[in-house]
């Protein structure tokens, strides 16, 4: 397990299911900005020997993943949905026009059950922003669908060359409810 990454898969196994699906799909590196609900996914990826790169902001994660894609590798980007705003420049002006498909896992904030007013506007805007860029997104609400949706965004990204997002909806649980 990577240093500083705490195993946390307390919500029915969806975090491990996503991690294993990514590793089974050939993902070699994960660029991310930390989030409580992503930790279990990252722990699983570390256990599967996927390289982890905690970077300074989400835009940097997308650009780093672009560098990996043009080098023939299979990266994944993980972030809170609130970080999507930080990544728009690299998505809209780099990954999308260069047709470099990157699978993204977005831990949703600012939606069902959100207590922090500062998170709500970006929560509302997440899907419309992705839609405006032509990036399809798929909500995950149960562990049973985790592998199918993860496999699906990887196929869109690596085979069809389209960025695609998996949205970790609040119904999954996973560690933020007490905050």
């Amino acid at each position: 397990m990577a240093e500083g990454v705490v195993q946390r898969d307390n919500a029915g196994g969806w975090q491990s299911a996503i991690g294993h699906a990514l590793a089974d799909g050939g993902v070699t590196v994960a660029a991310y900005v930390p989030d409580t609900r992503l930790q279990g996914v990252l722990s699983c990826l570390a256990d599967r020997s996927v390289v982890l790169r905690s970077l300074s902001r989400e835009e940097e994660c997308v650009a780093y993943a672009v560098g990996q894609r043009i080098s023939g590798r299979r990266p994944v980007v993980l972030m809170q949905s609130s970080g999507l705003g930080n990544s728009i420049n690299a998505l809209a002006s780099l990954a999308v026009p260069y047709r470099l498909g990157i699978p993204m896992v977005l831990s949703m904030r600012g939606t069902l059950g959100e207590a922090n007013p500062g998170q709500v506007p970006m929560g509302r805007a997440t899907v419309p922003l992705l839609n405006a860029l032509g990036i399809q997104s798929f909500s995950l609400r149960s562990a049973e669908a985790a592998k199918q949706v993860t496999d699906g965004i990887m196929t869109l990204a690596y085979d069809a060359g389209e960025c695609a997002a998996l949205l970790l909806e609040p119904e999954l649980g996973g560690g933020r409810e007490s905050h």
Binding site: V29, L55, E59, E60, G67, N89
Partner: protein, 188 residues
């Protein structure tokens, strides 16, 4: 020294390197120097070029990777220096075109001095030096430890020539072709 002198020195001194150029002057200069020879030329996405170069460097540890960056570009994406310091890819070199201006938008001055050598040096793990002529630059490209940063101080502001508005599909395909091809000579 002008931007094309810097790009010329890179492609001449490190002919097998994979280069990533930031939008504007850097892309125009690298297109001019390389003859569009399969490097990754950014046409937009200001502030992201060093992160993309780091992704290439991590993915291809046996290839030398050079990020050719405008100084306004690096100011916008400066946080990536912290990531370079954290992960220290031993095949990555950043070369900064330090003219103190946003050339592509008309030469407006940067609000403050970049001091990229001092910043990179303070972070740890990044060899950093400043050069102001092509011969010093050529020597620094070979001698600077990696990861490294070379601040190339420009005193001429001629626009390099080729358009910085590149065709993304062509750039991607040509770069992927260059990655797949074996280097023509060995590099240290």
């Amino acid at each position: 020294m002008k931007a094309t002198d810097v790009a010329d020195a890179i492609v001449r001194t490190l002919p097998d390197a994979l280069c990533v150029s930031s939008l504007g002057t850097a892309t125009s200069a690298l297109r001019q120097a390389s003859g569009d020879a399969g490097h990754f030329y950014f046409g937009a996405s200001m502030g992201s070029a060093l992160a993309a170069a780091m992704g290439v460097a991590d993915a291809l540890p046996d290839r030398v990777v050079v990020a050719l960056l405008g100084d306004g570009e690096l100011l916008m994406g400066a946080a990536t220096l912290w990531s370079v310091s954290a992960y220290r890819p031993r095949n990555l070199l950043a070369v900064v075109l330090a003219d103190g201006a946003y050339s592509i938008t008309g030469g407006q001055p940067l609000p403050s001095s970049g001091r990229f050598v001092e910043v990179a040096g303070a972070l740890g793990g990044i060899a950093a030096r400043r050069v102001d002529n092509p011969s010093e630059l050529a020597a620094a490209l070979v001698a600077t430890d990696r990861p490294g940063l070379i601040e190339a101080v420009l005193d001429e502001h001629a626009w390099p020539g080729p358009s910085p508005f590149v065709d993304p599909n062509r750039v991607r395909l040509e770069f992927e072709r260059r990655v797949a091809a074996r280097p023509s000579s060995s590099q240290s």
